[in-house]
């Protein structure tokens, strides 16, 4: 066999080997690419889902904050209005009660005063009667009568 044949043969063999190696390399590269792609896709999804989760959390927090603010406002308004209403009602009732109380007190006061006056006048009258019956000096009484008669006659004369 000639040299060129040997060389050619070796070359061919080498070529085949190289080709096989290349094929293998290609296969490995492809596999790697697929794996990389898969990983990349997985990473992207995770990232997206994380982002979505974050967004959702953010939105939720924002929303809940808004809701909380609104609901607290609503509650506050409701409480304020019901408090005002209750306060007005209470004020009205209190006013009415005070009015009634004042009238009652006035009435009771008048009744009590009348009772006291009555009792006092009765007692005074009784005491006076007893005292007057026994204590009035005849001379004093006569002097008083004569003085009054003089006054009456004097005024009559004046007329």
């Amino acid at each position: 066999m000639e040299i060129y044949q040997i060389v050619s043969f070796i070359s061919l063999f080498l070529s085949v080997v190289i080709y096989i190696i290349a094929l293998k390399k290609e296969f490995t590269a492809k596999k790697l690419i697929i794996r990389l792609e898969k990983e990349a896709s997985q990473k992207g999804l995770i990232k997206l889902s994380k982002k979505a989760e974050e967004n959702a959390k953010k939105n939720y927090l924002k929303f809940s904050k808004q809701m909380s603010t609104q609901s607290s406002l609503l509650v506050k308004e409701y409480l304020e209005s019901s408090f005002n209403k209750s306060k007005e009602d209470l004020d009205k009732k209190q006013e009415e009660l005070f009015k009634n109380l004042e009238e009652d007190i006035k009435k009771i006061k008048q009744e009590k005063i009348a009772q006291i006056n009555d009792a006092v006048s009765k007692t005074v009258k009784k005491l006076s009667q007893e005292i007057l019956k026994t204590e009035i000096n005849k001379q004093v009484d006569q002097d008083l009568i004569l003085k009054e008669l003089d006054e009456f006659l004097g005024s009559k004369n004046g007329n």
């Binding site: 006076s128 009035i136 006569q142 008083l144 009054e148 008669l149 009456f152």
Partner: protein, 146 residues
């Protein structure tokens, strides 16, 4: 015919008026029974007898006398009444004091009526010619205490 009042006291009490009215009634009834005026008047207190005598002395006929007595009776019944209400029965001295004051005051004759009301306690109430004066003790208390 005018009534002569020289012998008539200016102030007469119940009993005086009663005496005078009784006298006039008696005089009228006895007038036609031939009793002398003197006999009739002897039965009366001197002052009233003098008064009646003074008014009847110049009258001669029974009719004239009757008319005069009638006139006197009407006069007595129409006397102004001064009523004094007091708390206790007055003594004679006190009555005399009242009469003295009325004598000084009145131009005519007044019939003084004394009424007793214990509720006055002291002082008096006076009614005269439609006027009323309340000087009783309850009224004075009301006046000064109220």
């Amino acid at each position: 015919m005018e009534i002569r009042k020289d012998y008539l006291p200016k102030c007469m009490l119940d009993k005086d008026l009663e005496t005078l009215l009784l006298a006039t009634t008696t005089l009228k009834s006895l007038l036609y029974r031939n009793m002398s005026l003197k006999e009739m008047l002897e039965q009366m207190p001197k002052q009233f007898a003098d008064f009646i005598n003074d008014n009847l002395k110049n009258l001669s006929t029974n009719d004239q006398l009757f008319e005069k007595i009638q006139q006197l009776e009407t006069y007595f019944k129409g006397l102004d009444e001064l009523q004094i209400v007091i708390a206790k029965e007055p003594q004679q001295e006190f009555l005399e004091e009242i009469k003295k004051r009325l004598n000084n005051f009145t131009k005519g004759v007044v019939y003084l009526k004394i009424k007793i009301d214990e509720r006055l306690f002291a002082g008096c109430q006076i009614y005269y010619q439609g006027r009323f004066f309340d000087g009783s003790l309850p009224s004075l208390i009301n006046k000064y205490v109220a």
